[in-house]
């Protein structure tokens, strides 16, 4: 379980939040308008899936349950993606991809059978249904409910549909970012810019009778800037990502992303060796939330709980963290990268409080783990594509804001490490042991942020870290990332500035 090297910080983050708030108001005010805006089909005739013959899908579901089983679903997907990469001020590549297919799943008791096909035809889906039904042999049969059109609220607004954007406009965004990074300082030797967008169309039908269809647009913009002053080198990174239209770049300019990456690259040229050993850590607001995403979020996904091996098994309702710690997963934050409207099993996304004032309140479930644990479905059953079965995954996960002034948190920490951005990390969800790599961090001396230090690894265990958080700021912010758990998912992680007492820092000097 890994999070790729990712970061988002500083100015864009604030804009990001303002933007989201506006989106939230819009939804409350004009749901009808929104339903029209979210459609990104205009001008891109083949960007979405045609409606499927419901009778045919019903036959596929019936076939899947022919040998027995409790539940079956069909997931049909079409993804159109564009990726443009610039390195050393040259376009390294432009990629255009179409990926489509259908998967059929059967759940029988604790067993799951799954098969998929690249060809979305009745014949191929019937074949997939037959393969998937293998696991249900000799079990009691369930009669499927006939499927009918189902609707869910949308939390994604689109003003400039990606399908209507000329490639020249994408290229201009990249050039602007490249120029801004190089103009920042002569010691910036190179920028690497990765632009990605996709439109994912899904159709979900299942034996409980739902038929759902929607489209999610996604933009992901990454700027890396490399500094070299002849003595040291540093590769810095900044990211921006939303489920939205191309207006994302009007709200946050590509130059802003590039300058932030360049700023980090220059600041870290002077980095000294980090100290080693156990010390206090202050984490700046934003993508640092990836620490709780890994350290606490993954262990709260219900699959390992259902297996009886997860770190939080048997701890529901118990105090597991300090009083100032509240953690939430919310798949409905307007236009956020982790927002999903409904999960890939058709369950509506919702706000799930996982830990409230230190007490364990909830796990994140998919259909299977909810059934196994006799819990409600939380809308966390996600999958990378039709090639994967859905599993419990996070969406937008964050530490709820607290009361402390971030400046006071720093000032009241005499000695330690101030972590401004993390590259990413991983956790063992059974033991709860995690690790993170800092990308931009500083020494704390006498309550002040002083010299930059080289990227050190932070390690600890999830139970210790959430008990040892003793200050939570009032400055909640988010950053986008890619979460890996055998398959990848787009997420955001967020936190206010927090202080964690006693983390082991992997520095290279005593």
């Amino acid at each position: 379980m890994k999070i790729e090297k990712i970061s988002v910080r500083d100015i864009p983050r604030r804009r990001f939040l303002e933007l989201s708030m506006k989106g939230g108001l819009l939804i409350a005010a004009t749901p009808a308008l929104l339903a029209r805006l979210t459609s990104c089909q205009r001008g891109s005739g083949r960007s979405s899936l045609p409606d499927m013959d419901k009778e045919m899908l019903s036959k596929v579901i019936a076939k899947a349950l022919e040998k027995g089983g409790d539940f079956a679903d069909v997931y049909i997907e079409n993804r159109i993606s564009r990726q443009i990469v610039m390195e050393e001020s040259k376009f390294k590549s432009g990629l255009y991809g179409i990926s489509q297919g259908a998967g059929v799943r059967v759940i029988s008791g604790n067993k799951t059978g799954y098969a998929y096909t690249d060809e979305i035809t009745g014949e191929k889906m019937m074949r997939a249904a037959e393969v998937a039904s293998y696991v249900a042999q000799n079990s009691a049969a369930t009669a499927p409910v006939s499927i009918s059109e189902t609707t869910r609220p949308s939390f994604v607004t689109v003003l400039q549909p990606l399908g209507e954007i000329a490639d020249e406009k994408r290229i201009e965004i990249i050039r602007r970012a490249d120029q801004a990074a190089l103009d920042y300082d002569p010691r910036i030797k190179m920028a690497m810019i990765d632009y990605y967008d996709e439109i994912r169309s899904r159709i979900i039908a299942n034996s409980e009778g739902i038929y759902l269809k929607d489209e999610l647009p996604l933009l992901f913009f990454i700027v890396q800037a490399m500094s070299d002053d002849g003595k040291a080198r540093h590769m810095a990174r900044e990211r921006l990502s939303n489920h939205s239209g191309f207006e994302m770049f009007e709200n946050v300019a590509p130059e802003t992303i590039a300058r932030n990456a360049a700023r980090e690259a220059i600041a870290m040229l002077d980095a000294e060796d980090a100290p080693a050993g156990i010390m206090d850590v202050v984490m700046q607001n934003g993508w640092g939330g990836v620490l709780v995403h890994e350290a606490v979020g993954h262990p709260l996904e219900a699959d390992n709980i259902a297996k009886g091996i997860g770190a939080f098994t048997g701890k529901m309702g118990q105090k597991v963290a300090s009083e100032c710690f509240t953690m939430v997963d919310d798949g409905t934050l307007p236009n956020f990268r982790g927002t999903i409207n409904f999960d890939d099993e058709g369950t509506p996304a919702q706000r799930n409080v996982l830990i409230e004032k230190g007490v364990l309140k909830g796990f994140m479930t998919d259909i299977l783990s909810a059934k196994q644990l006799d819990m409600a479905r939380t809308g966390n059953g996600r999958r990378e594509s039709f090639r994967y079965i859905p599993i419990p995954r996070m969406t937008n996960t964050y530490i709820e804001k607290g009361k402390d002034d971030p400046a006071d948190i720093l000032a009241s920490t005499p000695k330690g490490i101030y972590v401004q951005s993390l590259s990413g990390g991983s956790v063992n969800p059974v033991t709860g042991v995690f690790n993170f790599t800092c990308r931009e961090s500083y020494l704390i001396e006498n309550g002040k942020k002083t010299k930059p230090v080289k990227g050190a690894t932070l390690i600890g265990s999830c139970m210790d870290v959430i008990s040892n958080i003793d200050a939570v700021g009032n400055d909640l912010a988010f950053g986008p990332g890619i979460c890996g758990k055998g398959q990848s998912a787009e997420v955001t992680a967020g936190q206010p500035t927090v202080r964690i007492r006693g983390i082991n820092v992997g520095g290279s000097r005593a």
Binding site: R46, E88, S93, L95, I98, N428, I459
Partner: protein, 444 residues
């Protein structure tokens, strides 16, 4: 139409739609995976899939597109997208395709027998493996066992007249278990991957390693922050190898984004360190007759007695550097452009037994687990979380967990002072046990 004929036809299609040069990469896959938990099937997943990627050049500018819908309308539309994308790109004189019609003879990359084995047998193997790994009374829970297999066919054609194909297969079986003692919890896992079904290790052997890994770090003792010897187990050698491989990536070197960029033909590491990449070894998942753009694979010495001997290249980076491709174009399937990567990398074995290395260590850590990203290939810094067994006066005295280790790559690689003779060449990233004279440990 046969896939090889389709590949050739698609190259012509790219040219007729306006490309000056074109490459078609077509891939077919079949896969099966079975997961079991507590002797019951948890998941069975089965699929066949295919897809094709088009790399086209127009006036020296490159475009790429891919799709998994092989209907002729969709293929033509996808090719047109690549050509339109190319027109918007920047010209690069290094945009070249291979002319090399060679084909390295590599034995035994495909086992037709995998499919022939019945599904029931594969399920039973996973269940048996889980039960065997649970036999140790200190193992309290299973985190599951699994069996997986895959077959793939690769077809590459380009407008220089290249048309090549090969088939490969693989299968693997593995298990993960949990050992608990009081409040302590430890996981241990082991798997085995082979080209041939009958070459999979005996289940007892895999199970024993998984249980040993879960129990060996129970009752750890926290150590002080200090500098000490670090003995790298073969399982964790990847933490260093990964950074070296990324550091000799020819493209990153040209960009100045590598800590090894100025080290060619220089002694940058201990003379005990020799590293080779071999894409030609038979019965290996890392081998192939040609690389991701059709260049024949080779056996390349990368580091010899601590001296950097070769960077690794694909066609584009090689052209820019003024050298020949080393056959290291890597591809993550039909939907990706050729990058740069290794085949089977190994560190040559030394003369000591593992026990001799431990016995020669006055105070240090036998490193069994590392977390984090390993060596940062740009800055050459290393930092990670660590666990293992503490060694004093030549003997293992207690387990250690929750510590960190760190250092500069050059210091670590120059500090290698003993290399073991226990090299297991069945891994695609292989190293024997080796010892580093001193690294910083972070503890209490």
């Amino acid at each position: 139409m046969k896939n090889i004929d389709l590949t050739e036809k698609l190259v012509r299609k790219c040219m007729s739609l306006g490309a000056d040069a074109a490459e078609v990469f077509l891939e077919t896959n079949r896969s099966l995976s079975v997961n079991v938990l507590k002797s019951e099937i948890e998941t069975i997943e089965e699929a066949s899939s295919q897809g094709v990627g088009f790399r086209v050049f127009v006036d020296g500018k490159m475009g790429f597109s891919h799709c998994n819908d092989l209907s002729s309308r969709s293929l033509e539309d996808t090719i047109s997208r690549a050509i339109a994308f190319a027109r918007l790109s920047t010209p690069d004189e290094n945009n070249v395709l291979t002319y090399d019609k060679g084909f390295t003879a590599v034995a035994d990359l495909f086992d037709p027998g995998i499919t022939a084995e019945p599904m029931e047998k594969k399920i039973k193997m996973a269940i048996d493996l889980e039960n065997l790994a649970m036999r140790d009374p200190r193992i309290t829970k299973s985190a599951g066992a699994g069996y997986g297999e895959g077959e793939s066919g690769i077809f590459i054609g380009n407008s220089n007249g290249i048309l090549k194909t090969y088939k490969s297969s693989g299968c693997s079986i593995g298990v993960s278990v949990v050992a608990e003692k009081g409040d302590q919890k430890n996981t241990g896992g082991e798997y085995c991957t082979r080209v041939f079904f009958n070459d999979l290790k005996p289940l007892e052997e895999i199970a024993a390693v998984a249980s040993k890994k879960a129990v060996q770090l129970l009752d750890p003792v926290m150590i002080r922050t200090q500098k000490a010897v670090i003995i790298f187990d073969p399982d964790v050698a990847r933490a260093l190898l990964g950074g070296i491989i990324a550091g000799i990536n020819g493209e990153r070197v040209l960009q100045g984004a590598s800590f090894l960029k100025d080290q060619m033909n220089k002694q940058f590491a201990s003379e005990l360190l020799t590293i080779t990449d071999d894409g030609t070894r038979g019965k290996s998942r890392g081998s192939a007759p040609f690389d991701g753009e059709g260049v024949p694979t080779a056996r390349n010495v990368l580091v010899e007695n601590g001296v950097l001997k070769s960077f690794i290249y694909n066609e584009k980076a090689a052209k820019r550097a003024g050298v020949r491709s080393t056959g290291n174009a890597s591809r993550r399937g039909f939907s990706s452009l050729p990058g740069i990567g290794t085949h089977n990398v190994y560190v040559s074995k030394g003369e000591h037994t593992r026990n001799e290395i431990i016995a020669a260590t006055k105070k240090g850590l036998l490193l069994l687990e590392v977390t984090g990203y390993g060596i940062d290939p740009v800055s050459g810094n290393f930092s990670g979380g660590a666990g293992g067994l503490w060694v004093e006066n030549g003997e293992i005295v207690h387990p250690v967990k929750g510590i960190t280790i760190a250092g500069r790559a050059f210091d670590i690689l120059n500090g290698i002072d003993m290399v073991g003779n226990d090299l297991d060449m069945t891994r695609t990233n292989a190293a024997p046990t080796f010892r580093v004279a001193e690294m910083q440990i972070g503890g209490k």
